[in-house]
């Protein structure tokens, strides 16, 4: 059997036993990509030659020594493309440095291998906003993989990656993991350096692992975190061993069910799968409690002020001067900006830049950005209050299973509402995981459902413990 189907934990064991080499793993993953990427479209590019060289030089004594990890195409890896699935970076950008998270990965012995598709600049929940190609759900090729880290989730669930990195601004790790049937973890804001991650919304963005198992998520997270002076929001806090709770029971764990998250509008099959998961947690000794997050209804509106506003400022850097697409037909500087940007950005990116620019423009700042920051305080306070009563909070990751390709095309508002359960977690900066919790049959095909487990700030260990206990009992 191809090593590409293995987990990190399994590969570690076999590497240590001397049964396989890092070269064997890279070769098997490369073969798997060659045979299945045509169908899935998960990878935008991959450089087997470099990965093999790095595999031969890998230090197998390191915790992730010789394990190849797929990288969402918005993180800089020296010498590789970093397109953000945008035409503006596709033609002529080669990363001249490693992102902070990539440096940490390498220190753990892992090797970045392959560039994974995404919604352009991570703006979207289906990967359909990629300017560079379609990614398909490995469970049903007529459906989206979710997004924005859709390539990462499709590659891991489709067994053409061992594990991958994604980034999550409003659910972009957890939602595609749920829709493809794998595990996705968004760490606490500030845990992982954002240096070298192409910025979307800086107060929300966070890098995290997408893996086949909860244990793998913990193993990978162990080699992503830590203070980085080049990201001023990076937290100077102790990095625990995230595997500490793996294998421990959850007797007495207080699990909160927010009544605002169990609402009409959620797909009946998703509700049924999550209800079954709640019963399973209860049977494992967890204490289930009803809680309230009263300002939940403000979440999506708050997000769609803050994220586009921050994006409009962040994406101002794409001016065609220092890197990225430059229009060949401009005659003066203003025309140079207008043409370079209009030719380079796709429709959703333009939509969000326009929205953000409008809301930050003179006379509107207080009405939109400041108001949204105040709403953010209320949402954060809701969680603080809830976490005085419970240890973790659970919900569906997404209100619906994967939709058909093209189904929500050009209906931005309907697409935005798909993020209703994941967005508040980013607004409050909390850790959250999506773990598979069964499936729902749609048109004769079984589609995965994800259970979201949200934790207190910096308490990934408890989140992983709960997720692992559930995963093993399921």
């Amino acid at each position: 059997m191809s090593l590409a189907t293995s987990t990190i934990a399994q590969l570690r064991q076999r590497l240590t036993a001397g049964e396989i080499t890092p070269r064997d793993i890279v070769q098997d993953v490369a073969k798997a990509i060659e045979s299945r990427n045509g169908e899935l479209g998960a990878y935008l590019s991959f450089d087997t030659e470099t990965a093999l060289k790095e595999a031969d030089a890998a230090d197998k004594s390191l915790p992730l020594g010789g394990i190849p990890i797929g990288i969402k195409d918005n993180m800089n890896v020296t010498g590789q493309p970093c397109t953000c699935a945008s035409k503006i970076l596709a033609e002529n950008y080669t990363a001249p440095y490693d992102a902070g998270a990539i440096q940490k990965l390498r220190q753990g012995g892992a090797l970045p291998f392959g560039r994974l598709n995404m919604d352009e600049f991570a703006m979207g929940s289906s990967t359909e906003n990629s300017a560079l190609g379609i990614t398909r759900n490995p469970c049903d090729a007529s459906r989206v993989p979710g997004g924005s880290s859709g390539g990462s989730a499709a590659a891991v669930a489709g067994d053409i990656a061992i594990a991958a990195l994604g980034s999550d601004t409003g659910g972009s790790i957890r939602q595609p993991a749920a829709l493809c049937g794998c595990v996705g973890l968004k760490p606490t804001y500030g845990r992982v350096s954002r240096f070298g991650l192409v910025a979307f919304a800086s107060s929300l963005d966070q890098i995290g692992p997408i893996t086949k198992t909860v244990e793998d998520a913990a193993l990978l997270l162990n080699h992503l975190c830590g203070k980085d002076g080049r990201d001023s929001t990076s937290l100077d806090v102790e990095v625990p061993d995230f595997t500490a709770g793996i294998g421990k029971d959850i007797k007495g764990l207080r699990v909160g069910l927010p009544k605002e998250y169990f609402i009409d509008g959620t797909h009946a099959g998703v509700s049924a799968a999550v209800d079954a998961a709640i019963k399973k947690l209860e049977s494992l000794g967890a204490i289930i409690e009803q809680i309230s997050l009263p300002h939940t209804e403000l979440g999506v509106a708050t997000y769609y002020v803050l994220a586009p506003a921050e994006a409009s400022a962040n994406l101002a850097r794409f001016d065609g001067v220092r890197y990225g697409h430059r229009s060949s037909s401009a005659t003066d500087l203003m025309e140079h900006y207008l043409k370079s940007r209009s030719e380079g950005f796709g429709p959703e990116v333009k939509r969000r830049i326009l929205l953000g620019t409008y809301m930050l423009s003179s006379g509107y700042y207080d009405a939109y950005y400041l108001r949204a920051q105040k709403a953010r305080t209320l949402i954060r306070n809701d969680f603080t209050e809830a976490f005085s009563k419970v240890d973790v909070i659970i919900s569906p990751t997404s209100p619906a299973p994967a939709h058909k390709l093209g189904e929500l095309k050009d209906n931005p508002l309907a697409a935005y509402l798909e993020d209703v359960f994941t967005i508040p977690v980013n607004l409050a900066g909390l850790p959250g995981i999506s773990v598979p919790c069964g499936d729902v049959e749609v048109d004769g095909v079984k589609l995965p459902v994800g259970l979201q487990i949200i934790g207190k700030p910096l308490d990934e260990v408890t989140v992983l413990r709960a997720a692992h206990a559930y995963e093993q009992a399921r």
Binding site: Y97, G320, A330, L333, K339, R351, I353, S361, R371, Y416
Partner: protein, 95 residues
């Protein structure tokens, strides 16, 4: 909260994006729809609430004032769409 009344061409210029008349009408309609939804924030009294800029309270992060390695000139110029020697080349700015 102002009623959604986006002047799309003005906003496009501020965004340094050029839109065709067709694109402008299309985006204007979509953005007004999104702005109408965002107006749900007005239903709540947020007057005395302190704004939150970042979920994790980290303020005034300073680095030690000492020499440290940075990008080399070649690294910085390596992706220049157009360069003249060791400089980025752009269209003429002043007459």
């Amino acid at each position: 909260m102002p009623a959604a009344d986006i002047d799309i061409q003005k906003v496009a210029k501020l965004s340094r994006l050029s839109l065709t008349t067709e694109e402008a009408a299309h985006y204007e309609k979509q953005l007004n729809g999104v702005l109408a939804y965002i107006d749900t924030l007005t239903a709540h009294d947020l007057g005395d609430v302190e704004p939150t800029a970042h979920a994790m309270p980290v303020f005034d992060v300073l680095r030690v004032d000492e020499e440290r390695p940075g990008f080399t000139q070649e690294q910085c110029l390596s992706n220049a769409p157009k360069r003249a020697g060791d400089q980025f080349q752009i269209p003429k700015v002043i007459e």
